[in-house]
């Protein structure tokens, strides 16, 4: 028997786990006010049935705006066969023993849970049928269900799930092999637009987010770290900070040198956050010298330029003979592409509430990756992971930023030091200047097409950042199977590295959010060199192949990509639309996170170089089923505008080892007046349903840049877009 029960003043749920034959059974009752007050009977780890007919379904993963708190329970509810209106969802705590991996990343939740959670629901349904059959003395095979009820057709008997719950909970779950999942044509919940479960709370301002957590006796903290990443504290005027009204304590955190760990800084703990911030202003911190202070964006650019003509560090992939092929090509193009560091800038600044008491730590965190946070906190504070409980709050955006748990380990450390529950809250400046940035990168490309307009030679000398390990820094790499590898007979990918002390990490569609811009823009250059239509040129490049990729490589289904490309050609009126002066359309496609997306952007560029995106058309193939169409379209529209936002104005510049931009006036996010309409079309194919948080983003950047070229003849080879006036 394992005991997963946790105590705590504000803990609303009581969890008890019992091992049962056939697998782990998790029982829980919801005792907090506003939640199911009637006795709820657990059927399995995810499902419990109330006597009031309500069904409570656990949402296992962090909700960051991707809609997972709704879509995963939809999978379960569909197979239990209940009315969605009767379903209540309940956010799980971090509990990988019961729920497996609980994270928001890589657009992985849909493909990972599609079979698993439908089975959870179907197993619960089978137990309810078995309970009814037993009570009626009939064969389970002769029973079926209508939403919320088991039915024995022959005798006309029915029983509500609620009335069967207690008996069902005592039965042994059937063998998975005996479970039959619903035929998709019978779906009542999946595939129908469902308003997200938190919508009523969101529109009325209910406290849902990490920043809204309140714990009795809670204090508020700020934490100032060195502007130069990882620099230590030389001195700080702690007494001046402590003299500020409301400040309880100010102290130095020695921290570590590892950029992913607890960094050095100075904490100020006060009765309110504004007081903590006022105290922070008095700290007058002096920072120790640090080697990263010599690094800058200008310096990285210069190093990349120098490396571009030098012998590469190594060759990552070599197919055919690039050198000969480029000599024999009918037309050739050479171009240098570059993209900047980007911040994630989720609108809810990083925060975390922690309470250390009697050797145990309770944490409330907006995190995309709670278990990694628990391990980091355990290691840093010298605690056992079992002594740390993490409650997952709704996240005010994630975009990959909250895969790192730096703010969690800071809150934990500060709370232990303060001897009281503490809510740590970063300022926007803290957030933009202490991110794990989308890494900057540089690509030096040469390509050639033959007389028929086929790409015959492609070389990318990719210059990227490394933390000194000899490998690209986090999210700074490019796979050796990245398109157009395997589609160009003479293909070479060379790599060179620049040492960097700038923290980097995954940003929504990591890798792809930069690589698609480079690759699909350069394909456009080759298309124009070949005097070919950019869309037809791309279809030709994809060829007539099906799945491409041998064992151990990521498979690329060229057929699915042709499908979305043709679909977007249709919806956008490609080649048929009459365009005005300085107006143009651009196309691009990209495969990432198991999703195939092709997009067309139409722009109008003013003579001063101002870009107005008129409209975007998207065609996406994420398999045979869209789980929640309402959320799915929202994700795609958001991803597309997110990509445009990055392309049009965003960059983090490094000077003296520090991030220059600190708030939204220097790191602009796209606003209402600039948001184009985004028309989304699904191409349904008989493949595993996959995720939508990321794959719609990458192709919009090159489609936009290609549209600008079509409108103006100016080729964008560096982001953010900065056009010359004519």
């Amino acid at each position: 028997m394992a005991d997963g029960s946790v105590s705590g003043a504000s803990r609303r749920q009581f969890i008890q786990m019992t091992a049962a034959s056939g697998g782990l059974m998790l029982g829980f009752s919801l005792a907090g006010k506003g939640e199911a007050a009637s006795a709820a009977t657990p059927i399995n780890a995810y499902v419990s049935l109330g006597t009031d007919g309500l069904v409570t379904i656990v949402a296992k993963n962090p909700e960051i705006g991707q809609g997972i708190k709704t879509s995963l329970p939809m999978m379960i509810a569909e197979e239990i066969d209940v009315d969605w209106a009767k379903v209540r969802t309940h956010q799980a705590d971090n509990n990988p023993t019961v729920y497996g991996r609980q994270f928001a990343g890589g657009s992985m939740a849909t493909p990972m849970h599609w079979d698993q959670l439908r089975m959870v629901g179907a197993t619960a349904r089978a137990l309810l049928i078995a309970a009814a059959a037993k009570a009626w003395g009939v064969s389970a095979a002769d029973c079926s269900t209508t939403p919320g009820k088991v039915v024995h057709k022959a005798s006309g008997r029915t029983a509500t799930y609620a009335s069967l719950a207690a008996r069902a909970a005592t039965l042994t779950p059937p063998e998975p092999k005996s479970i039959r999942l619903k035929d998709p044509k019978d779906y009542r919940i999946i595939g129908k637009p469902q308003v997200q479960v938190d919508a009523p709370a969101l529109v009325t301002g209910k406290p849902l987010f990490g920043i809204d957590v309140q714990v009795p006796g809670m204090l508020y903290a700020t934490f100032e770290k060195a502007p130069v990443f990882g620099a230590g504290v030389a001195s700080a005027d702690l007494s001046a900070a402590q003299a500020v009204k409301g400040v309880r304590k100010a102290f130095v955190v020695e921290g570590e040198t590892n950029l992913s760990g607890l960094l050095p800084g100075v904490a100020v703990v006060a009765d309110s956050w504004w007081q903590a911030r006022k105290g922070r202003e008095k700290l007058n911190i002096r920072w120790k010298a640090h080697q990263t202070a010599s690094q800058s964006t200008a310096g990285f650019n210069a190093q990349a330029q120098a490396l571009s003509t030098a012998t590469p560090l190594r060759t990552e992939r070599k197919d055919g003979d690039f050198a000969s092929a480029i000599k024999g090509a009918a037309r050739t193009v050479e171009a240098a592409y570059a993209y900047p560091f980007l911040a994630h800038a989720p609108l809810e600044p990083q925060n975390c509430t922690a309470h250390f008491s009697a050797g145990k730590l309770e944490i409330w965190a907006p995190t995309q990756n709670p278990e990694a946070g628990r391990q980091l906190v355990a290691k840093t504070l010298g605690l056992k992971p079992d002594d740390i409980t993490i409650h997952m709050t709704r996240c005010g955006g994630g975009f990959g930023r909250r895969l790192a748990n730096d703010y969690m380990v800071e809150a934990a450390w500060i709370a232990r030091e303060a001897g009281a529950p503490v809510k740590l809250l970063w300022s926007r400046e803290d957030d933009l200047r202490h991110d794990f940035y989308r890494p900057a990168g540089w690509h030096y490309l040469s390509g050639g097409v033959d007389a028929t307009g086929q790409v015959v030679a492609w070389r990318d000398h990719f210059v990227t950042l490394t933390d000194g390990s000899g490998k690209p820094a986090s999210s700074a790499g490019m796979s050796a199977t990245e398109f157009p590898a395997r589609f160009v007979p003479n293909y070479q990918y060379d790599l060179s590295l620049i040492n960097s002390g700038i923290p980097t990490g995954p940003l929504r569609a990591p890798g792809s959010n930069a690589l698609s811009f480079v690759i699909q823009s350069f394909i456009d250059e080759l298309a124009h060199a070949a005097e070919a239509d950019p869309l037809a040129f791309r279809l030709k490049l994809l060829g007539d192949q099906g799945k491409v990729g041998s064992t151990g490589q990521e498979t690329y289904d060229a057929g699915r990509m042709r499908g979305v490309l043709k679909a977007v050609a249709e919806t956008s009126g490609w080649g048929k639309t009459k365009l005005g002066p300085r107006q143009g359309m651009g196309v691009a496609f990209h495969f990432s996170h198991m999703g195939y997306f092709a997009e067309v952007v139409q722009v109008t560029v003013s003579p001063k170089g101002q870009v107005k995106v008129d409209k975007v058309w998207v065609a996406g193939d994420v398999g045979r089923q869209i789980v929640n169409p309402a959320g799915a379209i929202n994700q795609v529209q958001g991803a597309v505008i997110d990509g445009i936002s990055a392309a049009l104005g965003q960059q983090i510049t490094i000077e003296h080892g520090q991030a220059v931009q600190g708030n939204f006036h220097t790191y602009p996010l796209l606003r209402m007046a600039s948001a184009p309409p985004v028309e989304v079309t699904w191409v349904m194919t008989d493949n595993l349903p996959t995720g939508l948080g990321e794959p719609a983003l990458p192709p919009v950047l090159p489609a936009l840049c290609n549209a600008i070229f079509a409108a103006t003849g100016q080729r964008v080879r560096q982001l953010p877009i900065d056009l010359k006036a004519v």
């Binding site: 705006g65 969101l202 406290p207 956050w273 609108l347 529209q637 209402m672």
Partner: protein, 155 residues
Amino acid sequence: MAFRLNVNGKVRQADVEPGTPLLWALRDSLGILGPKFGCGIAQCGACTVHIDGKPVRACVTPVDAVGTAKVVTIEGVGGSDLGARVQKAWQELDVAQCGYCQPGQIMSATALLTHTPKPTDADIDAAMNGNICRCATYTRIRAAIKLASGQKTEV
């Protein structure tokens, strides 16, 4: 120092220092958590509340400047028919992704509709441009404003 604030129709006392932004008086002193902190410099609009019906960024409004004016937050905006209609439209179209900015968006939208019952796209652009949505739900924000104002809408 004690400030008496009229918030959502009730007079409440916030014990904060002069100069404290209204946002922090609401959040940390009064426990009114709907208005959100996003930037602290009136760039994102997540903290938008109404003061005597006008949309105001609470993060840069000193509590001393509020006086006896009526403060309405997302928690209270549903008290008016219009506010309730806007909230309903937001829910019906499921505007939110992460939802963090939406209290501010709803406050700005309600203020717009108060004086412009049938806003054009240009009216919406002008009134909503101070509210950032990092998830970029602008398409649905626009549609929800139109829905709440009884105009034809497309998502």
